[in-house]
């Protein structure tokens, strides 16, 4: 029998199916005790609408692999960070035309004080995942899913998505 972890790590994200939940850093742990499997997942954003589907997919795939007793629990802490996306995950994102995130902000302002407000468009050093041009412009900090911003390449003119840093 394949281990529960080996099964769980192949389950993909419903919104970015090129990534596994493990690539995305959403799969936090898989434990087996006396035939019972407990999987911990964490939401990317508080309102992530894919949590129920992730849970269902995990339960389903583990059932199919012969694990009858599966519990999926939510791990709220520590909060998910885009830094948890694996190198493999970043490679797959880029391969599918999605710009991977840069380093996440610390969640603190200078000297550990309050987070400062930023009134100018966020500047990120990134390049077009299609033509590699660095001439890109931010269209919106919000995109089709909670975790992505919208960009446009000024060279090839194609729009593309960027996974936001959190």
């Amino acid at each position: 029998m394949v281990t529960a972890y080996a099964v769980a790590r192949t389950v993909t994200d419903p919104e970015m199916p090129m990534l596994t939940l493990e690539d995305l850093g959403v799969l936090r742990s898989v434990e087996e005790h006396d035939g019972r499997v407990e999987v911990a997942i964490t939401p990317t954003y508080s309102g992530c609408p894919a949590m129920a589907t992730m849970r269902d997919d995990l339960v389903h795939r583990l059932h199919d692999a012969g694990y009858a007793d599966v519990r999926v629990r939510v791990a709220l802490t520590p909060a998910w960070s885009s830094d948890w996306i694996s190198d493999e995950g970043r490679r797959k994102l880029a391969e599918h035309g999605i710009s991977p995130p840069g380093p996440a902000p610390t969640g603190r302002g200078p000297g550990g004080g309050p987070v400062t407000i930023s009134l100018l468009p966020t500047r990120r050093a990134l390049s077009c995942p299609r033509c590699a041009s660095a001439e890109v412009e931010l269209t919106s900090e919000f995109g089709a899913t909670a975790c992505k911003a919208l960009y446009r390449c000024a060279a090839c003119l194609e729009p593309f998505e960027h996974v936001k840093e959190i």
């Binding site: 954003y45 309102g47 609408p49 629990r73 802490t77 909060a79 902000p105 959190i166």
Partner: protein, 320 residues
């Protein structure tokens, strides 16, 4: 010309066959109503330790969670009313994203309230499958809502939503940044996560505030009008309700008066860069000292809830 329904036994197959591939007897891909019993319901706190910290009154904790939850839930609904009405597609998507983040925070906080003190959850017919978070969202009347009134007033123009998101997210970000140190591990986790989301919300609103202020005469006029309209509701967010003050003393909550200076600094920065004066308007009075945190609301909340709750209330035993 009419089309007959596809015949699933047709030798050439049906266009829908691909949807069923490899899933004979497996209905898990269908979103509505057919999921197996054990997969229904979706507790956002599944498996999370919801033990109330020692020495903390469970009812007070639940009430505090409702305050934070209702601010998010009510504003989320107001923002979702913008869907398909924003000036362009990007702003439509941005407002929907902000609404979704707030809805997620609301769900976790409503579930935390119910876990702390089940007595706050409205009772439903025996056997009703409605989870506690939904019972709290859809089966409470306006006087049971604990949100600040700035979250509930009716929408106006785009400048109005920009000002509202700026004021609310600036205060909420400051509150949650401190709440991340709460002795209540659920509140602390929800807060730490919320800080990251609210940072994006506040930046979004701040940038639009500046853009509208420095845009055309008309955009500036509308921005200042929206600021004047919403400003009297701002002080309420920074006043401490006795429940907040008591729980802050117990290391569980944040007393809003303690973030007032920090919030003022941020708003003054936005106002200064935008060349807009701080309005000289006083706070909208409560009634006998009661405000949103006490369940005293404007008429707008009742109207909003009537629309938000009508379907759920018509089907108290419905599965969604």
């Amino acid at each position: 010309m009419s089309h007959s329904a596809p015949d699933p036994n047709d030798a050439h197959g049906s266009v829908f066959d691909g949807l069923l591939e490899g899933s004979v007897g497996d209905s898990s891909q269908w979103a509505f109503g057919t999921r197996p019993e054990e997969l229904q319901g979706e507790d956002p706190l599944a498996g999370v330790d919801t033990t109330v910290p020692e020495g903390v009154d469970p009812h007070a904790l639940a009430t505090y969670c409702l305050m934070l939850a209702d601010d998010a839930l009510v504003l989320s609904h107001r923002l979702s009313e913008w869907c398909s009405r924003a000036p362009d597609l990007e702003e439509d998507i941005a407002l929907a994203n902000i609404a979704l983040d707030l809805l997620g925070q609301a769900r976790l906080l409503l579930a935390r309230a119910a876990a702390a003190d089940p007595a706050v959850v409205p009772s439903l017919p025996a056997g009703s499958p409605v989870p506690a978070e939904d019972a709290l969202a859809y089966f409470r009347d306006a006087p049971d809502f604990r949100n600040v009134r700035i979250a509930e007033v009716a929408n106006g123009d785009f400048a109005h939503v920009v000002v509202r998101v700026l004021l609310v997210s600036t205060v909420r970000l400051a509150l949650l940044a401190r709440l991340a140190d709460s002795r209540d591990t659920v509140l602390s986790a929800v807060a730490a996560k919320g800080v990251k989301e609210l940072t994006y919300h506040r930046d979004y609103a701040g940038r639009w505030f500046l853009t509208l202020a420095r845009g055309t005469e008309e955009s500036r006029r509308r921005l200042v009008a929206a600021l004047d309209l919403l400003w009297p509701l701002y002080p309420e967010m920074l006043a401490a309700h006795p429940v907040e003050a008591a729980l802050a003393g117990a290391g569980v909550a944040v007393d809003p008066t303690t973030v007032a200076d920090e919030v003022d600094v941020v708003l003054d920065q936005v106002l200064a860069v935008s060349g807009v004066d701080r309005p000289g308007l006083g706070a909208l009075a409560g009634v006998s000292g009661r405000t949103g945190r006490d369940g005293l609301h404007t008429e707008a909340l009742s109207r909003m809830l009537a629309e938000m709750q009508v379907v759920a209330r018509a089907h108290p035993e419905g599965r969604w």
